[in-house]
């Protein structure tokens, strides 16, 4: 068995899925690894590229599949046990024999009712239990969920072959005594047995198969597809044996199947043509729908078909508690949307296709504005419902213009454009419009255009956040038009934008009243991708530009000067803003300016700088205090005119009332004896600048004394030293006010006269 990957479109060539069911077709395509899906039995799948009908290669006639199913279609049910489960039997043979019989709810009775007695499975039977040659695991891989249907059918058919001549039957139910990986299966499959190779309607039943399972899988055998709600599930609709159908439980038969839906009955040819109402465009008709559970006396309809503009259609059917429909979810008009299969129409979109949203009751109207369809349930009758079905004439969509193009600069939105939706059809057009991109917005998403009329839709592009480049989108207009949907390409070209950037510190100046500060400079730069045209303005009169405007290529910059004039400005603080505007998304850019007009600072100096030292010595430093005795901020600098004057700082700033202290050092290392003078000058932005301080440095010559004379004086031998010499000796010594041996020793050291020889160890004596 080979799995095929085939699309609904490809299957239409051979009549769709139901038309192709059971037919021989010829396919071409390419091989792919198998998907891990239930029922996948091979290790590869054929992705179909073409498909067409083919003749039966065996020459045998395949059973008719799809339509019509009339007359007798005998099935044989073969009961097989796996070799490892030789005694397990979900039901005895008699259960299956009765299930295949004509007594309610036997499937012969069932199919007779569903087909309004046009088809039956008379002649069906059941045999078994037979023992398969292999255990369950040989056929079913529980870990992968795959059952080898090929082996199952071949072995089960073979073990019963002695008792069954298969060509006498159109269908075979293979019933097994264990689960087949969670599924039972139904469809059509070939079998070469009893000397005949041919297709059979065929099912593979798990051990849990009950009435609804048999009828469901046999329905597949007859060529019926699944139906379901519109939610992606398969077994969620209790309106159809070919979906879930678990509302009618019997303790002996398990779940009993309801009828199948009207579309399926029509597929199998069970609804007479005159019992089908086909709505046409421009029609409005009230009809009586007879319930599906029985044929009735005629004169009414068993189903209605309503075409949509997209080529699919709706079915409308009446369901009441009749026959096998006795335990439906409710009595109501039920609609299906038929595409490749049937989906319950359930507008409440709540995931439940059985509840009130899917049940159309008297007073309720189904509306499909896009397709111009309404179905109004007028009333309930004893055997069905009266409904009014209306289909408007289709419109014809013409979009003007046929495409839309926008051009805008990065960071800005282009001007909106208008799309005209013209209706050149014969009926009123109810349209909806949508787009597929985030940056498109439509002024209206739906509307109505009378025949030969039109609607206008504002098309808005939000491109402010889009990077430069060309962006494409599609507007799709749908509706009840014979050419719906129509699409409109939309493009927007986003060009790079200039970016205005200012390079410069905010202006924060303190100026002395009446004194203009230096010119301030600001650099205007274009950091964007397009030419920038800029201009600048000031919101105050005291700031003016030299240039005030310019044009900059991408990446270029230029400098403008800002002149600040304080003429006429009184003392105080002033604020202004410089605004730079241009064709940039980030325009304007601003530069704040703060200006404080203050009184002039005043320099005050304090300190006395009269130094005295012996030759070669440097006296202790003195302190110079610089104060701002005026207003504003004093920016000062200080210097001395002699190199022997050292200053601990050279410049600084002082707020009004502030002061700074400097250390002034006189370096006498290279000065000769005598009096030296210097001038310290402090300058700054003060009216009284500069201020000076005098420095006097007296270098005292060192006395010239003989060591013996000094020693003699110390010993009191003589007093030849003058008072100044004695003072000098004490100054360079221990400064205790008297000349003593410590002073003498210090003098010797200073003069380099003191021996540095350490005492020899041998010269030490004990006292």
């Amino acid at each position: 068995m080979v799995a095929l990957r085939v699309t609904d479109g490809q299957l239409r060539v051979v009549g769709g899925a139901e038309g192709a069911n059971g037919q021989y077709v010829e396919v071409a395509g390419s091989w792919h690894a198998a998907r891990k899906t239930p029922g996948a039995t091979g290790d590869r799948e054929l992705e179909v590229s073409s498909i067409r009908y083919s003749i039966d290669p065996t020459g045998a006639s395949p059973p008719a599949q799809g339509a019509p199913i009339t007359g007798s279609h005998p099935w044989v049910t073969v009961l097989c046990r796996f070799s490892d489960l030789p005694t397990s039997e979900p039901h005895p043979l008699s259960w299956y024999q009765d299930l295949m019989g004509g007594t309610e709810p036997g499937v012969d009775h069932y199919w007779r009712e569903l087909s309004y007695d046009q088809a039956n499975v008379a002649g069906s039977g059941a045999l078994g239990w037979y023992d398969l040659p292999q255990p369950h695991s040989y056929y079913v891989n529980d870990s992968t969920g795959v059952s080898n249907l090929q082996l199952l059918k071949e072995d089960c058919a073979a073990v019963a072959d002695a008792d069954i001549y298969y060509p006498d039957f159109v269908g075979i139910n293979f019933q097994f005594n264990e689960d087949l990986a969670g599924f039972s299966w139904g469809g059509s499959s070939s079998l070469n047995i009893d000397g005949v190779f041919r297709n059979y309607r065929m099912t593979w039943m798990s051990d849990w198969a009950d009435h609804v399972t048999f009828t469901h899988e046999m329905g597949h055998g007859f060529g019926l597809p699944h139906s379901s709600g519109p939610y992606g599930a398969v077994y969620d609709s209790n309106w159809d044996v070919m979906s879930g159908a678990w509302t009618n439980y019997d303790s002996f038969w398990g779940w009993l199947a309801p009828h199948t839906i009207s579309w399926h009955k029509d597929i199998l040819g069970w609804i007479p043509g005159d019992r089908i109402y086909d709505a046409t465009e421009g029609s409005s008709q009230t009809i009586t729908l007879h319930r599906l559970g029985d044929l009735g006396a005629g004169g009414d309809y068993l189903m209605a078909r309503i075409p949509r503009t997209d080529g699919t259609f709706y079915t409308v059917e009446a369901r009441q508690f009749e026959g096998y429909d006795v335990n439906l979810p409710a009595q109501a008009v039920i609609m299906h949307h038929i595409t490749s299969r049937a989906f319950v129409v359930d507008p409440d979109n709540n995931g439940n296709p059985d509840d009130a949203g899917a049940r159309w009751l008297p007073g309720e109207t189904f509306t499909d504005a896009e397709n111009g369809i309404t179905v109004a349930v007028e009333s309930e009758t004893a055997t069905g419902y009266m409904v009014t079905i209306a289909v408007t004439e289709p419109g014809h969509i013409v979009l003007d213009p046929s495409s839309l193009s926008f051009v805008t600069q990065q960071g800005t939105d282009p001007v909106a454009q208008t799309l005209t939706i013209e209706n050149t059809g014969t009926g009123e057009l109810q349209w909806t419009a949508s787009d597929d991109v985030m940056w498109l917005e439509l002024g209206a998403s739906s509307g109505t255009a009378a025949a030969s009329g039109s609607s206008e839709v504002n098309v808005i592009v939000s491109a402010a956040d889009l990077p430069p480049g060309t962006w494409n989108g599609i507007i799709t207009v749908e509706g009840n038009a014979d050419n719906a949907p129509q699409t409109l390409p939309v493009s927007v070209e986003v060009t790079a934008a200039p970016v205005i950037t200012l390079v410069g510190e905010p202006i924060d100046l303190e100026v002395v009243i009446g004194v203009d500060p230096p010119v301030h400079e600001v650099v205007v730069r274009n950091e964007g991708g397009n030419e920038l045209t800029w201009s600048a303005s000031s919101d105050v009169e005291w700031m003016t530009f030299t240039r005030g405007s310019g044009t900059l290529a991408p990446g270029a910059s230029e400098t403008d000067s800002i002149t600040i004039s304080v003429d006429g400005l009184a003392l105080g603080d002033y604020a202004g803003t410089l605004t730079f505007t241009g064709n940039a998304p980030n325009s304007p850019q601003t530069l704040d300016a703060m200006l404080s007009v203050v009184e002039s600072p005043s320099i005050a100096l304090a300190g006395t700088f009269e130094f005295e030292a012996y030759e070669g010595d440097s006296p202790a430093p003195e302190t110079l205090t610089v104060s701002n005795d005026g207003g504003g901020t004093l920016s000062w600098s200080v210097s001395a005119d002699e190199a022997w004057v050292n200053l601990s700082a050279t410049a600084g700033t002082l707020v009004s009332g502030g002061n700074a202290t400097l250390q002034v050092t006189a370096n006498g290392s290279s000065l000769a004896a005598g009096t030296h003078t210097a001038v310290i000058t402090v300058s700054g932005n003060a009216d009284d600048s500069p201020q000076t301080a005098d420095v006097v440095f007296v270098i005292v010559a060192r006395p010239d004394m003989a060591p013996q004379d000094v020693a003699d004086h110390l010993m009191g031998v003589s007093t030849t030293l003058s008072a100044s010499e004695l003072e000098y000796l004490d100054d360079i010594g221990n400064r205790n006010g008297d000349f003593d041996v410590g002073d003498f020793r210090a003098w010797l050291q200073m003069e380099g006269l003191m021996s540095r020889v350490a005492p020899a160890a041998g010269e030490e004596v004990d006292p």
Partner: protein
């Protein structure tokens, strides 16, 4: 040890003295005790202090002091004009023997005295005299 050495030396001197006595003194009382002879040599001034000492002014009194000299690399200035030895001794750090001088008889060491006039530390600061001990030793 001293006691034993002194006896031995006296025995030797005794024999020599007897011979000399007979040779040099004639014979008024050839049997009287011998007179001790003076022993010229050096006496030393030693300094002890708990504080490093950089300089001192001192005075040494006693008979016939000659040839004062500094010891141990110290530097000496002195005066003997008044009969006593007044000296200024300075050095990197004075300790132990700081001064020596010659005397006619070292045995008369007890007849020599040293007094401290003033002292200075190694940072030239004045030191209290009580913290510096001077003595004359052989």
């Amino acid at each position: 040890m001293k006691m034993r050495g002194t006896r031995a030396l006296r025995g030797v001197l005794f024999s020599f003295a007897v011979g000399s006595l007979f040779v040099g003194c004639g014979g008024d009382d050839p049997t009287g005790p011998p007179e001790p002879q003076p022993q010229p040599g050096e006496l030393r001034v030693a300094l002890a202090s708990g504080t490093p000492v950089g300089g001192v002014v001192l005075t040494v009194t006693g008979p016939a002091i000659t040839s004062p000299a500094a010891s141990g690399g110290a530097q000496l200035y002195y005066d003997q004009s008044g009969g006593a030895l007044t000296a200024v001794v300075t050095g990197t750090s004075l300790s132990g023997e700081i001064l020596r001088f010659t005397v006619p008889d070292v045995a008369q060491v007890a007849g020599y005295e040293v007094s401290l006039q003033e002292a200075a530390g190694t940072s030239n600061q004045s030191l209290a005299s009580s913290g510096v001990q001077l003595s004359v030793v052989r």
